[in-house]
């Protein structure tokens, strides 16, 4: 299975993301630079965290126009899994692959600490290895992770089961404690917490690992 980790100028969680995928021997994980125009041959695309283009204008707003993003649009439309973490989530929102927006944290400070998340929906290609309502501990590290959407969008996300992760103790003011959502098709995930940082007990936990395994399983079953 081939996984692409997109790299923009200012990405800084790309190595962690690559490292997480490489824990699984079945996975061939490669960096794909923002200037590339094709994602052909890849089964999964991961958009890592960081400060793409210095967060100029709005987080993710400039990265969205990188050549690779056109390929990512097509990739997402084809139904293959896309996961965006932190700045990756911001980029996916700006690109219109996910609904809503991320505002400055309510308390204005950058927050970097482990946070408890509840699996709000475990019937997705990203969360099926977790049990419903399972509480995970996954670190967050962001200044603009305060998720916002209007009431109408929220009702739609909720009824479609697109809200995958919710904060137990809302750290940033996110609307309805939302920490991670997927698109209506269910193949594009965006989340502020960093699952790639909790994949080895030596590094503080393994709660993120099942997410990567679930995506791998999904891809293997699809090709089998």
């Amino acid at each position: 299975m081939k996984v692409a980790v997109l790299v923009f100028p200012g990405s800084n969680c790309d190595q962690d993301m690559l490292g997480a995928w490489q824990l699984m021997p079945e996975v061939d994980c490669q960096y794909v630079f923002h200037s590339e125009s094709s994602l052909e041959g890849f089964d999964v695309v991961a958009v890592p965290g960081g400060f793409s283009y210095g967060d100029y204008l709005r987080c993710g707003a400039i990265a969205r126009f990188s050549p690779v993003m056109k390929a990512l649009q097509e990739f997402a439309e084809s139904g293959k899994p896309v996961i965006g973490v932190c700045n990756g989530f911001q980029i996916l929102l700006e690109a219109g692959l996910l609904e809503g927006a991320l505002l400055r944290n309510e308390g204005l400070s950058f927050i970097c600490r482990p946070e408890k998340l509840r699996v709000a929906n475990n019937h997705s290609m990203f969360t099926s290895a977790y049990s419903e309502n399972q509480v995970l501990e996954i670190p967050i590290a962001h200044g603009e992770g305060n998720y916002y959407c209007d009431a109408e969008t929220y009702a739609r996300l909720k009824s479609n089961g697109q809200i995958l992760f919710e904060y137990e103790n809302n750290p940033n003011g996110s609307f309805m404690n939302i920490a991670g959502i997927c698109n209506s098709k269910g193949n594009v995930l965006g989340m502020m917490p960093h699952p790639e940082r909790v994949v080895e007990s030596l590094l503080g936990g393994t709660d993120g690992l099942p997410l990567f395994h679930t995506i791998l399983n999904f891809c293997q079953h699809k090709t089998a």
Partner: protein, 72 residues
């Protein structure tokens, strides 16, 4: 920022103004200000609207207003 969206920056600035004794201020909204310069004014209004929609403004959370001035 749209009216109904909480503006944490604006809130912090409001508090700071109150601490300085400017208690007459009820609300502060912090926004962005762009100055665009061009020699080509053909179709300028619709071009600006399109720039806002495609890049300058995130319509989920932000409202936009613009004025066109002759700098000469």
């Amino acid at each position: 920022m749209k009216e109904n969206i909480l503006d944490p920056q604006g809130k912090a600035v409001t508090n700071a103004l109150h601490q300085l004794g400017f208690n007459e201020v009820q609300t502060v909204r912090v926004g962005k200000y762009f100055q665009l310069f061009t020699d080509n004014v053909e179709d300028i209004e619709s071009r600006i609207k399109s720039m806002c929609q495609k890049l300058l403004v995130n319509e989920v959370i932000e409202d936009v207003d613009f004025t066109i001035e002759n700098a000469a």
